[in-house]
């Protein structure tokens, strides 16, 4: 039982970017707990202004190395909307394919290499190479497969090549897609084994009902397209995002927080699964049931399990996408459409692995960027994360200080925060 403690986790490990957990317990009561973001400022929305549309979509994925395909896709969609560019059916399918590859790579990175060590009481994946070698190698195979899907479509995963406004500058041959399809089918076995691995793990029990926000779509699980949906029962067009999602500054945090219908909401894999369960593939739905994920699920620790479920779905969806492309015949050349610059404003919304992502750009007559806005998943999750921490800590005060600290670290990791992404997030002292 902890009566008095000051918990300070400086630069939480095994997350992307720099954040601190600070908690104060006095007389057996939680006084304060927060997740402070201390990432260096990068000012993307400022310095994109003055660059041409071609340069904007080149630079935007550099916001984040883990979710660069998501940022690329959001920037392309926003820019194509602003410049009234229509892409081909093949381009859309290839983008969906690359998107699945990124989701698989990112989720597996988190499920196997960032989160998993906690469940085996290890400080990192490196000791697991000795004790759980099969699992580590399986994680590596699956992660590589995810990134190789991106590589076939766009040259590499981190900062994809050849994805330009209007389409692809290069499309690989049908043979490459057929070879990739074979590997994906083999990868499904590894994915089933991953479900068994996660079935053997005990996820902390903690529930707090909250609002879940994600894209939604009439007939496909929405990563790349759809309308904005809240579990509070509201669905709005992506063009209305500013009327719904409010970013605001809070005195104790250097990062902007966000709200819609409630005081906070959650985005990411769990939000998507909660809002779109029926659209998951049958195997993915079965995996969810096997792993005890029943919707609506209000346990944030289950976000990692939702990532495993989504990885299964994405692998299967890749097979369907490849089959669809092969049935139409692949145009294996530069198939990008000619773009004529014009003035306009466009919004691009996608589901990055960590949640709903908004890019908005304004361009002048010459296609030069005059305004940019990004709303990043991790920034949207911060208010919800802190609300979870406030409710969770009193439930675990019976443990040691070390236990409380570790549980808080695991809770933050379950959100899989991507702090470099949070371009809004600036560490400043407001005087």
């Amino acid at each position: 039982m902890v009566r008095d403690a000051k918990i300070n986790v400086h630069h939480l490990t095994r997350v992307e970017g720099h954040g601190d957990i600070v908690a104060e317990i006095r007389d057996g009561r939680l006084e304060d707990v927060k997740f402070a973001v201390v990432e260096a400022p990068r000012f993307f929305e400022c310095f994109l202004q003055g660059h041409s549309y071609e340069e904007v979509v080149h630079i935007a994925p550099r916001i984040c190395g883990i979710c660069s395909v998501s940022h690329k896709s959001a920037a392309l969609k926003a820019t194509e909307s602003a410049l009234s560019v229509e892409v081909s059916r093949q381009t859309r399918l290839l983008r969906l394919l690359a998107f699945n590859g990124e989701v698989i790579g990112s989720h597996i990175l988190h499920a196997y290499f960032l989160a998993l060590p906690d469940f085996f009481d290890a400080p990192s994946v490196f000791p697991l190479v000795q004790t759980h070698k099969d699992s580590v190698l399986r994680g590596m195979r699956l992660k590589r497969l995810g990134y190789d899907i991106c590589e076939v479509v766009a040259g590499r995963h981190t900062h994809p090549v050849g994805m330009i406004v209007g389409g692809f500058t290069c499309v690989h041959s049908e043979d490459d897609l057929i070879a990739l399809r074979e590997r994906i089918v083999q990868g499904l076995e590894d994915m089933k084994e991953t479900v068994r691995l996660y079935k053997s793990i005990t996820i902390p029990q903690f529930e707090r009902e909250t609002e879940y926000v994600s894209l939604t779509h009439p007939d496909r699980y929405p990563f790349y397209e759809g309308a904005i949906h809240s579990s509070e029962g509201r669905t709005i067009s992506t063009s209305d995002y500013r009327t719904a999602i409010r970013e605001y500054v809070v005195p104790h945090s250097t990062a902007k927080h966000a709200k819609w219908n409630r005081r906070e909401y959650m985005v990411g894999a769990l939000a998507r699964v909660n809002n779109n369960f029926k659209l998951l593939s049958p195997t993915a739905r079965q995996a969810a049931r096997d792993l005890g994920l029943e919707v609506p699920c209000h346990n944030p620790f289950m976000n990692t399990v939702a990532q495993v479920v989504e990885s299964m779905h994405c692998l299967e969806d890749c097979v369907d996408l490849i089959d669809e492309m092969l049935s139409h015949g692949l145009v294996a050349r530069d198939e990008s459409v000619r773009v004529v610059p014009r003035a306009g404003v466009g919004i691009g919304v996608v589901e990055a692995p960590r949640g709903i992502l908004f890019h908005e750009y304004g361009y002048d007559d010459d296609g030069v960027c005059i305004a940019a806005n990004h709303v990043i998943p991790t920034a949207q999750n911060l208010a919800n994360l802190e609300a979870d921490m406030r409710e969770y800590v009193p439930q675990i005060l019976h443990g040691t200080e070390e236990h409380i600290t570790h549980q808080l670290e695991m809770l933050v990791r379950a959100y899989d925060p991507c702090i470099s992404c949070s371009t809004h997030v600036v560490h400043l002292t407001v005087r």
């Binding site: 400022c46 310095f47 990192s124 190698l137 990134y147 407001v430």
Partner: protein, 271 residues
């Protein structure tokens, strides 16, 4: 070999997308082979725990705050060998695009009218703050070059980054020159070592690995601004774009901002 005799390696990140670390993680099984030769003692993104002492520091990102200047100096003092990963650390990359605005103005843009105190400084590469022993350039780094530099570090050999333009690798691979498609490509003045990955996919080189030594920039500007007269291959570019000096400056500024380039319209010979 007992583990204590292995060199200790540490990974650190400054302002960046952390894509270079992730690229190293994409070595997958090969990373396990590297671990036979070094002990990784600090790597915040993938492991809990850190060490005060290490022999080799791998650092990515740009220096954008006063406190980061102190941090990189301490890393430099501690590490026998400092290796930078990526163009943020090597040439400033996109981070330094913002240097054309004063820091106060940027803070104003982000925080509106509120008065703020920040230790933000003009962004610069690590190479501009402390001496660096090895550089792996690129946005992101290329894995074959990383592995090569890693071997050079282990065996104590000096590594010389290639000093030919991307065009050399592009031609050796027999890729189509993207000028023929009307794209603005910076391959002729950009340092190779990427195996021309962007032009291999029919995309243009944006200059992520920085300039070759003694790059004739003004000749490059002349190629773009007076291209029709120079060579028929440039007709496609001329048809599609009529680049002004300002547009060419902007294209160079996607990566090459530190130090600021002085570009002038075709005033030199040699184009």
């Amino acid at each position: 070999m007992p583990s204590s005799s292995k060199p200790k390696a540490a990974f650190f990140d400054f302002a960046c997308c952390e894509g270079c670390q992730l690229t190293v993680l994409q070595l997958e099984e090969t990373l396990l082979d590297l671990l036979e030769h070094v002990d990784i003692v600090t790597w915040r993104e993938v492991m809990t725990g850190e060490s005060e002492s290490y022999d080799v520091a791998f650092c990515e990102g740009s220096i954008t705050r006063e406190r980061d200047v102190e941090r990189i100096k301490k890393i430099r003092e501690t590490a026998g060998i400092l290796v930078t990963l990526g163009s943020c650390a090597g040439i400033g990359c996109h981070n330094a695009v913002r240097n054309k605005w004063p820091v106060e103005e940027l803070l104003q843009k982000v925080y509106g009218t509120e008065e703020v105190v920040s230790d933000a400084i003009p962004a610069r590469p690590i190479t501009a703050v402390v001496p660096v022993d090895y550089q792996v350039l690129g946005c992101p780094i290329s894995l074959p070059e990383f592995v090569s530099v890693f071997k050079h570090v282990l065996t104590g050999r000096k590594y010389y980054p290639p000093n030919q333009p991307v065009c050399v690798e592009c031609k050796l691979n027999d890729y189509l020159c993207v000028y023929e498609k009307g794209m603005i490509c910076l391959g002729p003045v950009t340092r190779c070592g990427c195996n021309a990955i962007c032009t291999s996919r029919g995309d243009a080189c944006h200059g992520c690995r920085g300039l070759i030594e003694n790059a004739n920039l003004n000749a490059m500007v002349k190629v773009f601004t007076e291209m029709r007269k120079l060579h028929p291959i440039m007709d496609a570019v001329a048809d599609r774009h009529r680049p002004t000096l300002e547009q060419i400056r902007r294209r160079f500024a996607v990566y090459n901002n530190w130090p600021e380039l002085k570009l002038e319209r075709g005033t030199t010979h040699g184009a």
